[in-house]
Amino acid sequence: MVETMTIKEPMDALVDNLQVEPPKKTLIEARNVDVFYGNFQALKNINITIEENSVTAFIGPSGCGKSTFLRCFNRMNDYIDEFSIKGEVLIDSKKIYWRNVAVEELRKEVGMVFQKPNPFPKSIFDNVAYGLKIQGIKDKTFLEERVVKSLKDVALWDEVKDELKKSALALSGGQQQRLCIARTLAVKPKIILMDEPTSALDPISTAKIEELMFELKKEYTIVIVTHNMQQAGRISDKTAFFYMGDLVEYGETKQIFTNPKKERTQNYITGRFG
Amino acid sequence: GGNTENTSENSGEQKILTGNIKIDGSSTVYPITEAIAEEFRAIAPEVKVTVGVSGTGGGFKKFARNETAISDASRPIKDKEKVACEENGIGYVQLEVAYDGLAVLVNPANDWVDHLTVEELKMIWEPAAQGVVMKWSQIRDGFPDEEIHLFGPGVASGTYDYFTKAICGEEGASRGDYTASEDDNVLVQGISTDKYGLGFFGLAYFEENKDKLKLVGVDGGEGVVIPTQATVADGTYQPLSRPIFIYVNDKAAEREEVIEFVNFYLELVPEIAQEVGYIALPATEYAKQVEKFQTFISKK
C-alpha cells in the first residue's frame, strides 16, 4: 500500500500544476465484485469508480442488490452468515477486504445511514455523541459542540433542543431517522453511505436533508440508495442502475435520466413515479 | 470425675488453649459431638472446633488423608479404610461414646402386634422375603390378611448395616422392596400414616414421636424386651442396640487442645448422649475408654 501511495502523490502534484481544475480523485473503486449469499448470487461482476466529493445514486427495483453493494463499502456485510465476496473493493486506493484492514477504522471513514431508523436506546445527546465517545473523546464542550452542530445540520435541533436527555426511542419515525443521520455526521467521515435515508421522512425534512447533501458534498463523498427517481435526479452527480444483481448502467445522472443507453434503464426510468 | 475437673480448671487458669480441631463424619454421631463442642466453648473459647457431616465413609476418607483430627463414626472402621490410614501413616484410637438403640415400630392403630421375635424380624426382612412375605398374616397366625409396608433407613447407612447384621446375620442382607429414607423423620411420617406399616430406626425418633408411633418389643431369645434407656444401657435389649464411635488421629493427639477436648468429651458424654436422644454406656465402659485414650497418648 505504501508503494502505491508514494507513486501516486507526486503524480497528483504534477496534475495540480498542469490543470486549473484538477479531475476529481477516485475515492471508491470496485473491481469485478461478485457477492453471494450462500448459493444465491446477489451481485454479478460489478465494476465501478466513484469520485471524491460527489453524490452517487444507486437505483433499481427492489431486491436488485443495491443495499448489498452499498454495504460492501464499509464491510457491513461481514456479519451476515453465508455472505461471501469475490473481487476487490478499494477505498482511497486501499483494498478494504484485505485481512489486515481494521474494519473499525474503515467505518469511521465510511459512515452509514440505514433504511429503517435505528436509534440506540439512549438519550438523544448520547446517540449523537456515541461515535465520538467510542473514539475516546471525553472533552465535554467539544462533544456538545459537535452534537449541536450535527443536530442543526439535520434540522432536528429546534425540535429537540430542550430535551436532549430524552430517550431517542420516544421520537417519531421521521425524527428518529434524522437523528441517525446526525449521529453519522458527528464523526465526520469521508464517505457517507445512505440506504434510502429519506424514505421515512416527511417532505420538509427530506428537503432539508437534500439541501444538506449539497453542503456535505463539498467535504464528503456520498453514496445513496433511493427509490425516489426525483430525488436521484435532483441530488446526484452520477447514477448507477442495478437490475437483478447486474450493474446495468452507470453514468452522469443527467445522461441516465435523459438519454439512457440501455433499454432496461429506459423502461425503469419511464415507468417512474415520484 | 474430680480429677479431670481439676485439670480443665488448671489449664483454664494457667494458659489459654488455642488452635483448631476439625471433626467430620457420621451424621448419627453429629448431635453428640456438636453438643460437646458447644460446651467446650465455655472452657476453651479460643479453640476453634468445627464439625462436619460427610457421613462415616466420607469422614474416614478425610481422616485417612490427615484432614481431620477426629472422625465421627456410626460403625467400626472397615478394612479398606484401615489400609488407607496405614498408607498415609495415620494412627488412631477408636473410642466408643454411646449406644444407639434401634427401635422397631408400627402404627398406633396396629392392635395385633406388641412384640416380634428376632426370627420373625428375620422372616420379614431377609432377602428371601422379597416378593414372598407380603402380608401380615404370613408372619404369625392371627395377624390380619393385609399387605405389610416396610420402612427403614437407606441402604448406604450404618444403621441399615447394623440392623441387617443383627437380624439377618450378614451386612446388607435384606429384601430391597422396602421404603428407605436417610431422614428418620420421613420414616416417622411414613409409619404414622400407614396402619399396615412397620419399620425400624433410632430410638430417639420414637421418644420424640410417642403419640404417633407404637413401639414393638423384641424377643432375642431371653424374653420380650422393650427398648428404653435402661434396657439398652444394661445390655438387655439385644440385638438391636449398637455402639457409636469417635476416632482420634495420633498426630492430632499430640496437641494439647485435642487431648483436652477428647478428655472433656468422654467426661461429658454420658450426660449429653441422653440429652440428644442416645443412650450412655455403663460407667465402667467409659472408664475403659478413658484408659484406652490415656494409654494411646502416653505411647507417643
Binding site: 452509514m112 440506540f120 | 448431635p31 476453634k48
Partner: protein, 285 residues
C-alpha cells in the same frame, strides 16, 4: 360469525386459564410459605439471628450459617456473573458458528443437568485438593459458580440474541469495534434477560446442600468466616441438619431458618429485579 365467537371464547378461556395457572403457582407458594411461617415466624428474633449453633433448639441460632451463606452468595455471584456473562458473550458474539460451537452449546445445556453433588465431587478434587483451598468459603464458592454457570451463560446468550441487529449495525457503522458495540449497546439492551438468568442461578445456588457438604462445608462452625479462606457452614446445611433431628424444637428452628433464607434470597433477587425493571422499561423496539 360463529367462528369469531369461538375465537373470542377461546381467548377469554385462555385468559382465565392464564390467571388460574399464575395463581396456581402463587397458591402453592402461599401454602409453602404459610406452613413455614406458621411454624417458624415466632421463633425468629434477634437472639436467633446472632446465636451460635447449639444442641438445645431454644438456644440455637443461625449467625454463622447466615454469615456463611452471605459470604458464599457474594463470592459466587462475583465469580460466576462475570465469567458466565463473558462466556455467553464470547459464544454468542465471537465464536464461529461451527460444529464445535454447537457441541459447546449442547455441552453447556448438559452441564445444567449434571446433578449438583457431582459438582461437589469435582470441587473436592479440583479446588479442595489440587488447588489446596481446603474446605474454605472460596472452594465452596468456586464449586457453586461452576454449578450455576450454565444457567447464566444460556440466559445471557438468549438475551443477546434478542437484541435487534439494526442496533448493532448502527454501532458498527459508526466505527465502534465489536467489543465497544457489545459493551455500549448489546449488553445494556439485554441486561434484563441476563439478570433473569442471574436470579434463577442465585436462587439455585442459595438452596444447595449436597455439593457444599462434599466440598467440606461443615455443620457446626462456632465462628463466622472473616476471609475467603475460612471454614464455613451455610443455611441449607443447618436447615437440613435440623430437619433430620428428632426433637420438634429443631423443626421449628428449621422453619425459622427457611424464612430467613428466603428473605436473603428476596433481597438478592430484589436487587436483580430492580435493575431488570429499570433497564427493560427503557427499551422498546
Amino acid at each position: 360469525m360463529t367462528n369469531a365467537q369461538k375465537n373470542r371464547i377461546i381467548d377469554k378461556s385462555f385468559q382465565v386459564f392464564g390467571i388460574v395457572c399464575t395463581f396456581f403457582g402463587l397458591a402453592i407458594l402461599a401454602i409453602l410459605l404459610y406452613n413455614i411461617v406458621i411454624q417458624g415466624a415466632a421463633r425468629i428474633d434477634w437472639d436467633f439471628l446472632k446465636d451460635l449453633p447449639s444442641r438445645r433448639p431454644q438456644k440455637a441460632g443461625i449467625y454463622t450459617a447466615v454469615m456463611g451463606t452471605i459470604w458464599i452468595l457474594v463470592l459466587t455471584t462475583m465469580i460466576a456473573f462475570p465469567i458466565g456473562v463473558g462466556a455467553g458473550i464470547y459464544l454468542e458474539e465471537y465464536a464461529k458458528k461451527t460444529k464445535l460451537a454447537s457441541l459447546l452449546e449442547i455441552n453447556i445445556a448438559n452441564l445444567a443437568g449434571v446433578p449438583s453433588i457431582i459438582y461437589g465431587l469435582l470441587g473436592l478434587e479440583i479446588f479442595v485438593r489440587i488447588f489446596g483451598l481446603g474446605g474454605s468459603v472460596l472452594a465452596g464458592s468456586l464449586t457453586l459458580s461452576l454449578l450455576i454457570l450454565p444457567i447464566i451463560i444460556v440466559a445471557t446468550r438468549e438475551a443477546l440474541k434478542a437484541v435487534p441487529s439494526s442496533i448493532k449495525d448502527a454501532s458498527m457503522a459508526l466505527g465502534a469495534s465489536k467489543w465497544q458495540t457489545i459493551w455500549n449497546q448489546t449488553l445494556p439492551a439485554s441486561i434484563g434477560g441476563v439478570l433473569t438468568g442471574v436470579i434463577l442461578a442465585i436462587s439455585r445456588a442459595i438452596g444447595e446442600t449436597a455439593p457444599l457438604i462434599v466440598v467440606g462445608a461443615l455443620a457446626y462452625v462456632p465462628f463466622a468466616p472473616s476471609s475467603p479462606m475460612d471454614e464455613f457452614t451455610v443455611m441449607p446445611i443447618q436447615i437440613f441438619n435440623w430437619v433430620s433431628r428428632p426433637q420438634h424444637g429443631f423443626a421449628v428452628n428449621a422453619s425459622a431458618a427457611i424464612i430467613v433464607l428466603l428473605l436473603i434470597t428476596f433481597m438478592m433477587n430484589g436487587i436483580a429485579v430492580y435493575f431488570r425493571n429499570k433497564w427493560q422499561k427503557k427499551i422498546k423496539w
